[in-house]
């Protein structure tokens, strides 16, 4: 019954202009402020600023369901209450069945943790037919986890997922698909050897007499869908060699053929050119106009404003803001994304940088990164900031010689490095702590002792044999220096905690006494205490004259320990900040391609 109403309501689609808002307001019941929803557009700056400055702890908006956070709301003044009230109002709307335009999909207070890591603390989202809802947040804010819950890949530890107001549990992607939820990933997983049409209809191909596949009908159906989307794609060609944009179109076509009512797009534009983004937007608008609910995830805020009607901002695993986009500006979103308590300034003094140790000149790898020049001096920590996928790790891999580069040069202590030779880079004194320590940093089945010794075998061998005593001494020495907590030196490294594993990787390289150390996400997925130790260790190394190039997606970490910050976006260096002259907002703005929000830095710092 509700459904019928909701459908009719959404038929008017563009109705977002004000109708749905009011509908929701009714749903919210007693909330007085809600009438002023549009009003919030009027005073975007003031109220929210106070919010982020005054309540850095976040979580208050989401908490509205009755969580402790609600106390803040009362405290924070009239204009403030508007956007926040969305939270409670929405969930009550569904429960109280008052909403005239109920959401087709609703996720309430979902939580998910992996071991000790809380990937999602409180994820809530509501998607309505005919609306494009943006989901934004920094790396690690929990967006991907939320998407995977909707996709049926993860089962949430807590919270509820409702489709058409009915609570459902998705055991696996097939169930999500059957429930009408389709997810378009940044890089779709197609069958490269099958045709475009077959990719869309695999397992459901139209049949003719004798249960044979009716290729003609299948291609015609695919062509009809492409025509509806206004894209030109040959259904009969094989998928291998399709551009990412075309692959996404194939996935979208599949979603349409499945009659998906909710389409989740996880950073679909990250790898697209401008023209491809325009085409995708046309497709999304066509879908939206036909009543599909769309969740659109992007780091590019201008896209959010160009395409979406609603936005949800996540931060630190929590929903912190859900609001109509009318009247908001990019700065508001950036502020909501960042608005955490600033990490305390490093107490440890930075030394004065010495000689240049690592010089990278105009490094280019076609299609991956372009014209990267940077210098790391002795005693300096240079951070490479940017969004995931901006090409930071790829630059590091090229410097260390894992990937080849097409142009440019790398020199260590004035001596040029041969491209594509990690051995050469190591001999020149470079160490590399990779992003994925389990896959790339460690040999998980080998002992901690062997892992630490791995990069120093040349020094530990005598007549071609590894001296076990020397190996043990080296391992023991570094394990003690880095305060690694371990059972036995000969125990498998897989038994250690994530933080201690990372220390083992660091120990492996420190055992070589590198001149330059490249660390890629050195503290990802490790606990706070160990994180602080790693920070302390990196600062200590810098004081000892090591040049450190650090890639990190955690802005507080970047601001805390680096001397200089280079920001990459889409394969290029976009900005450089001195340690003292940067705010999170400025870095994030450079990384997302937004002009820095005016007057924001004052509010944050």
């Amino acid at each position: 019954m509700e459904n019928g109403e909701q459908e009719t309501g959404s038929g008017g689609l563009p109705g977002s202009g004000g109708l749905p808002g009011s509908g929701r307001d009714t749903g919210s019941g007693g909330l007085p402020g809600s009438g002023g929803l549009p009003g919030s557009g009027g005073l975007p700056g003031s109220g929210r600023d106070t919010g982020s400055a005054g309540l850095p702890g976040s979580g208050h908006e989401t908490g509205s369901g009755g969580l402790p956070g609600s106390g803040h709301e009362t405290g924070s003044g009239g204009a403030q209450s508007l956007p926040r009230d969305e939270g409670p109002m929405r969930s009550e709307g569904a429960m109280g069945s008052e909403g005239s335009k109920g959401p087709v999909l609703e996720l309430r207070h979902a939580a998910k943790s992996f071991g000790a890591v809380q990937a999602l603390l409180d994820g809530s989202i509501e998607l309505r037919p005919g609306e494009v809802h943006a989901l934004v947040g920094e790396n690690g804010a929990g967006k991907s986890t939320l998407v995977k819950i909707l996709a049926g890949v993860y089962l949430p530890d807590a919270g509820a997922l409702l489709i058409d107001g009915q609570e459902v549990t998705l055991h696996g992607p097939a169930m999500a698909q059957a429930a009408g939820i389709a997810v378009i990933y940044q890089e779709p997983a197609l069958f490269p050897d099958l045709t475009v049409a077959e990719n869309m209809f695999i397992g459901r191909q139209p049949l003719r007499a004798g249960r044979r596949i009716d290729r003609r009908a299948m291609r015609a159906e695919a062509a009809a869908i492409f025509a509806r989307l206004g894209v030109q794609l040959d259904p009969a060609r094989i998928a291998r060699g399709l551009s990412i944009a075309d692959q996404q179109v194939v996935e979208i076509g599949k979603a349409i053929s499945l009659e998906a009512r909710v389409i989740v797009m996880d950073e679909p534009t990250a790898a697209l050119s401008a023209a491809e983004v325009d085409r995708l937007f046309d497709v999304v608008r066509a879908l939206s106009a036909s009543g599909t609910a769309i969740l659109f995830i992007s780091h590019r805020l201008e896209e959010v404003f160009a395409l979406c009607q609603w936005v949800t901002v996540m931060r630190d695993g929590k929903q912190v803001l859900t609001q109509r986009l009318d009247g908001l500006v990019a700065g508001d979103l950036v502020r909501a994304m960042v608005g955490r308590e600033l990490a305390e300034r490093p107490d440890e003094a930075h030394g004065t940088p010495g000689e240049p140790l690592l010089s990278v000149e105009r490094l280019t790898r076609e299609g991956v990164f372009t014209d990267i020049s940077l210098t790391v001096r002795a005693g300096e920590i240079v951070a490479l900031a940017g969004l995931v996928g901006s090409g930071r790790s790829e630059v590091a891999r090229a410097i260390f010689g894992i990937d080849r580069y097409d142009a440019g040069s790398v020199a260590v202590c004035g001596h040029g490095l041969r491209r594509g030779s990690p051995t050469g880079a190591m001999a020149a004194g470079v160490g590399f702590v990779p992003e994925d320590r389990r896959q790339q940093g460690l040999v998980m089945d080998m002992s901690m002792q062997q892992n630490i010794a791995l990069a120093s075998l040349q020094r530990l061998q005598h007549g071609g044999l590894i001296r076990a005593a020397a190996e043990r001494t080296l391992a023991k020495d570094w394990a003690d220096r880095l305060k690694i907590k371990y059972g036995r030196l000969k125990g498998p490294v897989s038994m250690l905690s994530g933080g201690n594993q990372q220390k083992v990787v660091l120990a492996k390289w420190l055992g070589r006494r590198p001149a330059v150390l490249i660390v890629d996400e050195p503290t990802r997925g490790i606990d706070v205490a160990t994180k602080a130790e790693v920070h302390h260790l990196l600062l200590q190394l810098a004081r000892d004259g090591v040049g450190i190039l650090m890639i990190s997606s955690e802005l507080p970490e970047v601001l805390r320990i680096s001397d200089r910050i280079l920001v990459m976006r889409e394969g290029r260096l976009m900005a450089e900040f001195a340690h003292s002259g940067a705010s999170e907002e400025e870095i994030l703005s450079a990384a997302t391609g937004q002009a820095p929000p005016t007057g924001s830095s004052g509010a944050i710092n």
Partner: protein, 345 residues
Amino acid sequence: MVSRSERPPAAAGPSARRLTERAFRIRESGIIVVLVVFVAVTASVQPRFLNITNIQFILINTTVFALLALGETMVVISRNYDLSVGSVLGLSAYLSANLFGQHHGIPIAVVFLAGLGIGLACGLLNGIMVSAGQVPSLVVTLATLYIFRGVDILIVGGKEVVASSLPSAFLNIPKATVFGIPILAIAIAVVIGIGAYYLRSFRSGRELYAIGSNPDAARLAGIPVGRRVFVAFTVSGAIAGVAGVLWAAQYGTIDSTAGTGYELQVISAVVVGGVAIFGGSGSAVGAALGALLLNTISSALYVLGISPFWDQAIWGFLLLLAISVDRFIAVRLAVALRVRGGRHE
């Protein structure tokens, strides 16, 4: 096809696409070109190569391999390998031919059914271990390669089935011709045609391609991966069983070494015939042509009086060539995609 020319250049990768499409077309027709060139060159040096007896000989020799290649194609397309086909063939050849000695007057059809059954049982075993046991097929079928051969040796011991114990109707199966073409070769061609049509035009057939093309995506798309792979192994085993009976009819003398080493020759034929070694593409017809090409080469070298050493060397060379072509295409594609798919606008 229709819309290709209309596509906006920004969204399309015309050069990369034409490259792939051309490469795949060449891959299918390339074997025939190589075959024709090889036959032409050999015949120009030694016209005897093209006499009817020799052609019949080549066709008959190819039947067993082409049949095995059909089953192997199904398995390889799904990104698996069946290394046990040679041993299954040997086991089936001896046990089925031995039936003639044990039961006088047994109908030939029953013997074929027995061979089919033996092969089916072996294939079931492979299929269960690969799909239910989640053991890599390379390991499973390497193990059953030895196990089935071991069982064969255990049963056969030092004995052998000799041609004199077999009914002449059975031995004449490979010899029957119509218009000079061996009937057996025609029958096998029809079977391969049916197999190719099944793989091309039925959901379960296409799903084998999908599994080989991207196993994870296949699972996400709800394809019953385990069941499909299981069936592929079972069919491959059954086909090897029938091939064993044909082998017996062709050679007449069967001991415990029958079919030794065939598995690698069959996989060679499949790969030379254009089936991607990591699955996802290729056709049963291509694989059969691959088998024909390899047998033609063996025969040509024999006719030309060249040392059999070159036989093996040329097989190896062709295999390298086939894999190089695959690799070349893959690398060219990767480069084209990386440059084109970049974020530089």
